[in-house]
């Protein structure tokens, strides 16, 4: 098994920051808001490794910084500090153009965009963030394919159809606008779009939150099927312990921007070590 992503001391502070920010925030301080300068320490010192084909869960309550972690890694938001290295498989890095190993936050914006369009995928809780609502479902996927590689119109359309079929979106609806879709269907289109370039690394942020249980179950099924077919490595952000148990092999637990516990998922759920995790797991039973 090879490492695909290495994250070290990732941090994101909203606001001016001051020398007391770090000591005045975190689980012990019971806040992420610095009382001295009013900055929000959204995340600090977040480190983890992800291996090829592995699914890592990021759990924690609202505001603990889960989304901030994946947003930084997907270049949605520049972090304030820390490092992340993406190890691409050499077969997929065009010779001379890109290194096999990418120091994510040291890249220029063109290089970051290239990775985002070719090698990473993201599925957001809010479909508005992941989809262009002004163009059809098929158009959304075509858009991503166009950004990644040049292909002729016919090939793109075929590919888009195949992806929507794989994610179980009715083909009769390829030309419909996302706003006319149900929530579950919008998530399927987002997943199809994220997978268009067959990325080895996928970020999923609360993708089933707010959906009916039966719709949720089918989306989770789909995610796992895809993971098994394509061996995609995933970082799954969710506050839902059921999702964590079904999807992930390892997990990290966050509170007020810090990682307070990491472990095998079954161990975190059945033998949580930290007082906070014990409360979290007990309240979900």
């Amino acid at each position: 098994m090879n490492k695909i992503l290495e994250v070290r001391n990732l941090s994101k502070i909203y606001g001016p920051g001051c020398p007391q920010c770090l000591d005045s925030t975190g689980p012990e301080s019971d806040t992420n808001l610095c009382p001295h300068c009013r900055s929000v320490v959204a995340i600090h010192g977040v480190s983890f490794d992800l291996f090829e084909g592995e699914i890592l869960g990021v759990m924690g309550e609202s505001g603990s910084g889960k989304s901030t972690v994946v947003k930084a890694l997907y270049f949605d938001q520049a972090p304030s500090g820390g490092e992340a290295i993406f190890y691409d498989s050499p077969a997929n890095a065009p010779e001379g153009k890109h290194d096999k190993q990418h120091n994510l936050f040291a890249l220029n914006s063109a290089q970051q965009r290239w990775l985002r369009n070719h090698r990473f995928g993201m599925v957001y809780q809010n479909p508005n963030l992941g989809l262009n609502f002004n163009i059809s479902a098929g158009g959304n996927i075509a858009e991503r394919l166009l950004m990644s590689d040049l292909m002729d119109y016919g090939a793109i359309r075929e590919r888009a159809k195949a992806l929507l079929e794989r994610t179980e979106v009715l083909l009769s609806r390829v030309d419909d606008l996302p706003k006319d879709f149900s929530g579950g269907m919008q998530q399927r289109v987002q997943i199809a779009k994220a997978l268009a370039t067959q990325p080895p690394l996928l970020f999923l942020d609360e993708v089933t939150t707010g959906l009916d249980l039966s719709v949720q179950a089918r989306i989770l099924d789909l995610i796992l099927e895809i993971q098994q077919e394509l061996k995609t490595a995933m970082v799954v952000v969710t506050h839902d312990l059921g999702v964590i148990r079904l999807l992930t092999g390892r997990a990290i637990v966050m509170k007020y921007g810090r990682v307070i516990e990491t472990g095998l998922t079954d161990q975190i759920l059945e033998d949580p070590q930290h007082a906070y995790t014990q409360r979290l797991v007990a309240s979900a039973l």
Partner: protein, 240 residues
């Protein structure tokens, strides 16, 4: 003599419940070995920590004391209590199986695929893996009409057979069994015991907890009796 596959030395497990500020001892000073093609049975009253030992070996529980020495297929020895998370995941995928009473599976996955899953993980062709799953399920007399539906709504006994078939299918080097026949009627249980003997004969090392003493008598090569761990106060006195 060939070294054992598993050697547990002075294993202990306490749970620290922070909310209640309480230390709960669950297993205490447990030692035994498991050899290739042998079955070691754990016996003892409720509260003796039998399941806690199995879960400690599988690392669902983090051990508090002792060593859990495992010799892998390459002959390397490692302490499961200290192994990295990725090492454990790899062993779970390739060498160590665990049959529990619970089944966590996807709501939509057909029983046949749930059972074949470990083989899929090895890269065995789907049709071949499903074929093998079908053989095991029919050996355990799970009605064929259930094979194509999800086990999510199965009865306890049906579910247990799905769990067993999934645990058996990849022929793990070490198999942990927690009351594998508890919810089965005597005839079905008999089929399962036959399969356990078969797997044993093929070389799988097993560590098992059985509900019925006669099952232990019939299948076990070694029997380890566990006693409930002393309460914390007793232990403190011991140390004083």
């Amino acid at each position: 003599m060939i070294p054992p596959i598993l050697q547990v030395e002075s294993y202990g497990k306490n749970f620290m419940l922070h909310e209640q500020n309480k230390l709960i001892p669950s297993s205490h000073n447990v030692s035994f070995t498991v050899r290739r093609g042998n079955l070691t049975a754990l016996i003892g009253p409720t509260g003796a920590g039998k399941s806690t030992v199995l879960k400690g070996i599988y690392r669902t529980y983090l051990p508090s004391a002792g060593r859990i020495l495992y010799r892998d297929a390459m002959g390397h020895e490692l302490d499961l209590a200290l192994a990295s998370e990725h090492q454990i995941l790899e062993l779970r995928r390739c060498e160590i199986g665990f049959v529990t009473q619970f089944l966590h599976c996807l709501p939509r996955q057909a029983t046949l695929d749930v059972v074949a899953q470990p083989l899929f993980g090895f890269g065995v062709a789907r049709t071949e893996a499903r074929q093998r799953a079908a053989e095991l399920l029919s050996a355990m007399k799970l009605p064929e009409r259930l094979w194509s539906v999800s086990p999510a709504t199965f009865s306890g006994g049906e579910r247990q057979r799905v769990n067993l078939a999934r645990g058996f299918i990849a022929k793990p080097r070490l198999l942990l069994l927690d009351e594998p026949t508890a919810s089965l009627d005597p005839t079905t249980a008999e089929c399962v015991l036959d399969l356990i003997e078969e797997l044993k004969a093929e070389g799988t090392a097993m560590l098992a907890i059985f509900h019925h003493p006669e099952t232990t008598r019939r299948l076990a090569d070694q029997v380890v009796e566990l006693a409930p761990p002393p309460a914390v106060e007793e232990r403190l006195k011991e140390l004083a």
